[in-house]
């Protein structure tokens, strides 16, 4: 049940990504290109997703507990530290180069495009490298968000 549900929610999320244009790097890069061929479509993706999630999360939290049991797992960190801001700045540079954010990329992997597979492999390499760097500097990591 748990796996069927997770798979179905993944399908829904993926269809949202593909319909919205978030999985199309040409569209994503044009969204960032304010001085050139600007395509504001992706602001509508964020708008739609935020409206539904802001309301839906509130309703969900009122249930007290997830339908399949356990608890709501939410990030607890509050501090605006160098890791958060520096990491996000580096992610933005990467996103601006490839046009793929992780959520936009994974649904596209199903199409088997070489450029998407290459980007996925290098994202995994980046995640593993960052973990190694963090463990070297002996800090704790929470990559749940």
């Amino acid at each position: 049940m748990k796996l069927v549900s997770a798979f179905a929610i993944g399908l829904l999320f993926g269809c949202g990504i593909l319909i919205s244009g978030m999985g199309d790097p040409a569209k994503v890069l044009n969204f960032f290109d304010l001085a050139g061929t600007w395509d504001p479509s992706l602001a509508f993706v964020m708008g739609g997703a935020l409206i539904v999630t802001a309301i839906g999360y509130r309703l969900a939290f009122r249930m007290g507990q997830p339908l399949l049991g356990g608890q709501f797992n939410l990030p607890t960190k509050q501090d605006l530290d160098v890791k958060l801001i520096g990491g996000s700045a580096v992610f933005g540079i990467g996103w601006g180069l490839s046009g793929f954010c992780p959520g936009g990329l994974v649904p596209v992997l199903g199409l088997g495009l070489p450029g998407a597979l290459l980007t996925a492999a290098t994202i995994v390499a980046g995640i593993l490298t960052a973990r190694w760097m963090i463990s070297m500097s002996n800090r704790k990591l929470t990559a749940e968000a």
């Binding site: 919205s20 996000s88 390499a125 960052a130």
Partner: protein, 142 residues
């Protein structure tokens, strides 16, 4: 040029929101794609592994649903060269790991909860992405 698609993009955003809410309401989990992928790369197998794999399986299979509904696969255009994709992907992996999240985790889940960390993260990565595209297209490009 890409076509301005406010209605399709808004509709897609609503589906993303519904899936995000469903993952929380049913599983109690944040729909941060980078976090879910990252959890699969764990060194020891945890009980979380199975739902993460099932969710990602659904994401990867979603083009087939699109094929069933529209009769064609989604058109994806990747303008960047392989070298640029590789550097971009690597920086994305580094940055989302240090920054604890990506567009879905911070931009949707976090901002919906009015998390200060997620708002700061989202503003930061949007700004550096805009600057990066400006530099590659209008300073070095041309």
């Amino acid at each position: 040029m890409t076509e301005f698609t406010p209605f399709l993009s808004f509709a897609g955003g609503i589906l993303i929101g519904l899936a995000t809410v469903a993952l929380m309401a049913v599983h109690g989990r944040i729909a941060g794609i980078n976090g879910i992928v990252s959890g699969l790369l764990a060194t020891q197998l945890s009980s979380d592994w199975a739902w993460r794999a099932a969710f990602l399986g659904g994401l990867i299979a979603s083009p087939l649903i699109m094929l069933g509904i529209t009769g064609e696969l989604p058109r994806i255009d990747i303008p960047s060269s392989p070298a640029v994709l590789a550097v971009g992907g690597f920086l994305t992996g580094i940055g989302t790991t240090y920054g604890s999240g990506c567009t879905s985790g911070h931009g949707v889940c976090g901002i919906s909860r009015l998390s200060a960390r997620s708002i700061v993260a989202t503003v930061t990565f949007m700004l550096t992405a805009i600057v990066t595209v400006f530099v590659t297209r209008h300073v070095f490009g041309g």
